[in-house]
Subunit: 184 residues, 2 copies
């Protein structure tokens, strides 16, 4: 399997009224996604926001845990947050990931409302040949323009009924687990 990365997008995403907005960075999103990525052996975690103040906030969190007091207080957290990079937009994240892998990457979009997405098994097959960049939205999900780029999508996580309001922290953990090689 080729290396894998994830991107957490804060713009363009939807808010609860389905307007396109830039969402705020949530501290626990960064920690949880970094720890899940580290657990499942994913190589990079791109935090995407064009808002400079938010970029600084994310950078401050990263620095605290990677170089500051946090690195001494909790070295496990350091290892995870070292996977994190802050990017102004998704194209920059994709560019950096392709630079990192030296290969053409496979960007894949996720969302609770995705129709006709591929299964995790189909995605795992593609991951044999291309480094995956799995893309998650914050707020009420990735905005429509991202779905017009011709990138493949992943079938949403279906539970027992019609309720499909998982936290992005939970959805990302489940997808990373489902897309792992040593899946039982």
């Amino acid at each position: 399997m080729k290396p894998r990365a994830l991107a957490l997008v804060h713009y363009p995403v939807l808010d609860r009224r389905h307007d396109v907005v830039a969402s705020a960075v949530t501290n626990l999103d960064l920690h949880d996604l970094a720890r899940s990525a580290m657990t499942f052996g994913w190589s990079r975690f791109y935090v995407v926001t064009p808002v400079e103040e938010q970029q600084r906030l994310a950078e401050k969190i990263r620095e605290h845990w990677c170089q500051g007091y946090g690195a001494v207080y909790n070295p496990d957290r350091r290892q995870a947050l070292e996977l994190m990079e802050i990017c102004p937009d998704l194209d920059e994240a994709l560019r950096r990931w392709e630079d990192w892998t030296g290969e053409r990457a496979l960007p894949v979009l996720t969302g609770a409302a995705v129709q006709n997405g591929m299964s995790c098994q189909q995605c795992r097959d593609l991951m044999q040949d291309s480094p995956l960049l799995l893309i998650f939205g914050t707020g009420w999900g990735l905005a429509p323009p991202l779905f017009e780029r011709g990138w493949p999508t992943l079938e949403p996580i279906r539970g027992a009924g019609t309720y499909n309001h998982l936290a992005v922290r939970a959805a990302a953990a489940i997808f990373m687990d489902r897309l792992s090689e040593n899946r039982i």
Copy 2:
């Protein structure tokens, strides 16, 4: 499959120095675990803390989303948080769960350091006959006395390497997914 519930324990748990402590309730734990439980069709979510102030905090969060402004603002959140009950200790959670199901429950402990735990497949087999109460610890995990009660344990989530520091929000989501019936 019989009904399933989860418990999130704030005492007795370990802190980073492996002392037994009561941890503080984290707002996002309640939301994330409730939303995951709702997604996967679990019936109850017991928040366990003996600290009265913390019980009041958890109750306040529940009320805000179930009866207050939050119930109107975000009805999806309401549905999820209605699964939540606050208990002073794990025995009370188990008692309430047995009252709810009218059957003898199957308490199962989780933890990143569990040795010789059963697989999710083995657990799913037991879940055909008994209502599961899946127990998660906050902080640095459930304290040793809980592991001396003779309850079965679940094999930790293994990723790509030795790193095993998933957030409880992520671990709970992955286990609920792995223990679901319509697992792919």
